[in-house]
């Protein structure tokens, strides 16, 4: 194995570690939301520092590979993809932290019926599942897995679009629980962003493996 291949393998391994950490943040955030577990939410917020440290390390590693190895073709695309995935992961970590922060801020509990009618838990699970699948696609270098994510994102979009009306109605009928309802709307908005980040990462994986650029294409075209 060439020196560059060794460096690229290490870079991928570091990316997977960061990814696993971010996905863990999302999982714990979901549990914290369902159980209103503020300790768990604080744990999520604290792990954000580790995600940031990974981001800086991966940035530096990519810079070193460009400078020292002048990668080309698939190697170049690999480093470019990881550089962008690194930013996507850091943003996703920020989102997980933001959701955890809402959980620690909220005074009342989240009304179970509201969780049900907004489908926020389903949305959360879907977002986590997308993140897991994109990670698997990256690990196995399998673009067929990456492509599945584009369709799955439509479920997140659908839940997000319906949330406004549902929450507005709920607030009209539950004026004592407005704050929690607004926090929940913000969480839904953030989960929708997780879907977007997953899609961006799937696009990067397809660019890396197949040298195809899928940005700004329709879901139909992306899923082909």
């Amino acid at each position: 194995m060439s020196h560059l291949e060794v460096e690229l393998q290490q870079l991928k391994a570091e990316t997977i570690k960061m990814w696993t950490l971010v996905n863990m943040q999302l999982r714990k955030g979901k549990e914290a939301l369902i159980n209103l577990d503020k300790d768990l939410a604080r744990e999520v917020m604290l792990s954000e520092r580790r995600v940031n440290a990974y981001e800086l390390k991966l940035d530096r590693d990519c810079e070193n590979i460009f400078a020292l190895f002048n990668p080309v073709a698939v190697d170049l695309r690999c480093v470019l993809a990881i550089l962008k995935i690194n930013s996507n992961l850091e943003r996703t970590g920020d989102i997980a932290e933001g959701i955890a922060k809402f959980v620690t801020n909220v005074d009342n509990t989240f009304d179970k019926s509201l969780l049900e009618i907004t489908r926020v838990v389903e949305m959360y699970e879907q977002a986590i599942s997308m993140m897991d699948e994109v990670l698997e696609a990256f690990d196995k270098e399998d673009t067929a897995i990456a492509r599945k994510v584009f369709l799955q994102d439509e479920i997140l979009d659908e839940i997000n679009i319906k949330a406004n009306k549902i929450i507005a109605n709920y607030i009209r009928n539950n004026t004592d629980n407005v704050e929690a309802a607004l926090y929940l709307l913000s969480i839904i908005r953030k989960l929708e962003r997780v879907g977007d980040q997953s899609k961006n990462m799937a696009e990067e994986i397809i660019f890396y493996i197949e040298a195809k650029v899928l940005k700004h294409r329709s879901v139909k075209e992306q899923s082909k």
Partner: protein, 250 residues
């Protein structure tokens, strides 16, 4: 119209086939890089363009090589005229044991030009073209061997330019040079492109990326892939090309 066209070219050293069915069309005012592992046939192919391989015994070419639409291997082609049109620069700087001035003037003199003023002007223009004038203008009568390796190589390029070719062949022109001289020669190649069609053999992948518009990858006498350099170095179509440029086989 293409400046150089190679149609179904096979080339043999005795019974051993060095090139197999090479088809390439090169546009004027471009730089084409020939890359590939040692022994792949890229230098042999380069030397076909000015019939340098004619000097080797027991060689045979089939197919056609056209420069400006004319078959350079057709009967009756004057090889001296061809080489005036197709200049060449070699791996190691090879100035003649003459003064700096005479090195550049040599090609003109052997072509029967004796007008002193004309020769002086052409020598100055050629040396200026290779960005060497400021460095040598006060020592034109000194031996070319007094120059550094990088300066000697640029002088050799000036010598090739003096007879005003339209094609310049370069066989690993910077492999014997330090990084500063290499970058000067690369800058020069970039500038010369506006007036000449350049074909360069290089072992340096990054150099191929930096200087060329199109790249041809050779392997074991075959042309594996020929495309825009950007495509070759970002998403080559053939796996063997990718393996070579990423260093997965040597």
């Amino acid at each position: 119209m293409f400046k150089i066209e190679s149609k179904n070219v096979d080339f043999f050293y005795g019974s051993s086939q060095a090139l197999k069915n090479i088809n390439i069309a090169i546009k004027p005012n471009t730089v084409t890089a020939l890359i590939g592992p040692s022994g792949c046939g890229k230098s042999t192919y380069l030397r076909l363009f000015n019939r340098m391989n004619d000097l080797i015994d027991n060689t045979k070419i089939t197919g056609q090589i056209l420069i400006d639409g004319e078959d350079i291997y057709a009967k009756g082609v004057n090889v001296d005229s061809l080489r005036k049109k197709v200049g060449m620069v070699f791996q190691k700087p090879n100035p003649f044991p003459k003064t700096i001035f005479e090195n550049v003037a040599y090609g003109l003199r052997v072509n029967g030009i004796s007008d002193k003023k004309f020769i002086e002007e052409r020598v100055e223009t050629s040396i200026k073209q290779v960005a060497l004038w400021e460095e040598v203008k006060d020592k034109l009568k000194k031996s070319a061997f007094e120059l550094s390796g990088g300066q000697q190589q640029r002088l050799c390029i000036a010598r090739a330019l003096a007879i005003q070719p339209s094609v310049i062949l370069m066989d690993e022109p910077t492999s014997a040079l330090d990084p500063i001289s290499t970058s000067k020669v690369e800058e020069l190649i970039y500038e010369l492109k506006s007036k000449y069609t350049i074909v360069i053999v290089t072992h340096n992948m990054q150099q191929a990326g930096r200087v060329s518009d199109t790249t041809a990858f050779f392997y074991m006498g075959e042309l594996i892939e020929y495309d825009n350099t950007k495509n070759i170095f970002t998403h080559p179509k053939i796996e063997r090309t990718q393996n070579y440029i990423t260093g997965r086989f040597g």
